[in-house]
């Protein structure tokens, strides 16, 4: 990818910043280093029930598509010493649900003709719904790689090389332009990693912890006069925040 030069540096920077929020990052670090999603321990130390472990009940993805997406998303936001990446935090489940949703079916964009190659200022001018683009794109990517191996079988360097070529529109995945497909892959990978966990990705809020985002606290009104305070609470998700009342240590509340 063309961002290869900057991505490691950005994560190095995050690593440096992480020193400022030691408790949360340390909690994550005790989880997976192996890249195996099942070894990731939720921040609260609560184990998922045995019955929910293992294979996702996929809504729409085939096993080949799951395999390819797991490998692709594992390169776009890899798991490393900072914690789980996109694939290991439910990213493929996010895409599965999005593809099966009304959004995946294109309920948000004008899908009637006329179709013509437009100028950049005219935006998206293809007829594919997001779901169609993923399905066709993954099939054509497999065709491009050829029989006998899949994207997941390639060496990491070869995977990156292939993704770079897709990003630059240098391989033929017609009818899907490879650059547009790559753009969607990257965009949905990022969304999976930073959207609320209720969408299936960002499991245990790993994306929010990584960048120090507080999440979906309903209100900060208790803190509105505490100028310059050092926010030290772990992120909260929408589901977790429904009835949350935050203590304010600066006012002597019990923690």
């Amino acid at each position: 990818m063309s961002h290869d030069q900057t991505r490691p540096r950005r994560r190095d920077l995050l690593s440096t910043l992480a020193v400022g929020v030691p408790t949360v990052i340390a909690g994550l670090a005790s989880g997976s280093r192996t890249g195996d999603a099942e070894n990731i321990k939720p921040a609260g130390g609560v184990e998922p029930p045995e019955s929910s472990k293992g294979r996702e009940p996929w809504l729409i993805l085939t096993s080949d598509e799951v395999s390819a997406l797991t490998a692709v998303m594992g390169r776009l936001i890899p798991s490393d010493s900072l914690g789980p990446g996109a694939s290991d935090s439910g990213g493929v489940a996010f895409i599965d649900r999005q593809m099966a949703s009304a959004y995946g079916a294109g309920d948000h964009f004008y899908s009637m003709g006329p179709f013509a190659p437009g100028a950049a200022s005219q935006g998206y001018q293809l007829s594919f719904t997001p779901s169609q683009m993923f399905r066709i794109g993954l099939e054509k990517l497999q065709n491009h790689i050829g029989a006998g191996q899949s994207f997941a079988d390639l060496a990491v360097a070869d995977q990156d090389d292939l993704l770079s070529k897709m990003e630059n529109g240098e391989i033929d995945l017609s009818p899907v332009p490879s650059a547009a497909f790559f753009g969607n892959l990257l965009s949905w990978t990022q969304q999976s990693f930073f959207a609320d966990p209720m969408y299936g990705g960002n499991k245990n809020k790993v994306g929010w912890v990584l960048v120090g985002f507080p999440g979906a606290y309903s209100s900060y009104s208790e803190y509105v006069e505490d100028y310059g305070m050092n926010w030290q609470y772990p992120p909260t998700s929408i589901a977790e925040d429904q009835d949350m009342v935050m203590p304010n240590p600066n006012r002597g509340d019990a923690q």
Binding site: G106, D107, F109, Y110, S111, A119, Q122, D241
Partner: protein, 111 residues
């Protein structure tokens, strides 16, 4: 199916904060006022309620409160040398949708 409605003094287009204040003042001044609103009703609770309103994917990235281009859009070209094409996803000149949309999306929108 068009029909002619009784004539009034004022018609206010859009029934959100701004239109409601204008309509109230005009009516108080003795005018007969009709207010037009195309959007579905939506209210502070539950439609704009925390913490759900902090769902960045739904509201910010996917612009839940703006007009859905699948239902209504416009064509666009930069100059006469280009062919105007339908904007399949709205990228500028983005109208809000739903009652009180501008009160909720009271900021520059971008996709």
């Amino acid at each position: 199916m068009s029909r002619t409605l009784p004539s009034v003094d004022m018609v206010v287009v859009g029934g959100g904060w701004s239109g409601s204040i204008i309509g109230k003042e005009m009516a108080a001044a003795g005018n007969r006022v009709v207010m037009l609103e195309r959007g579905a009703p939506q209210w502070t609770s539950p439609d704009f309620q925390s913490p759900r309103i902090h769902d960045e994917l739904r509201y910010n990235t996917r612009q839940h409160f703006v007009q859905n281009a699948a239902k209504e859009t416009y064509t666009f070209r930069n100059n006469q040398d280009q062919t105007a094409l339908p904007m399949r996803v709205l990228r500028f000149a983005i109208p809000a949708t739903g009652l009180g949309g501008c009160g909720v999306v009271g900021r520059p929108l971008s996709l």
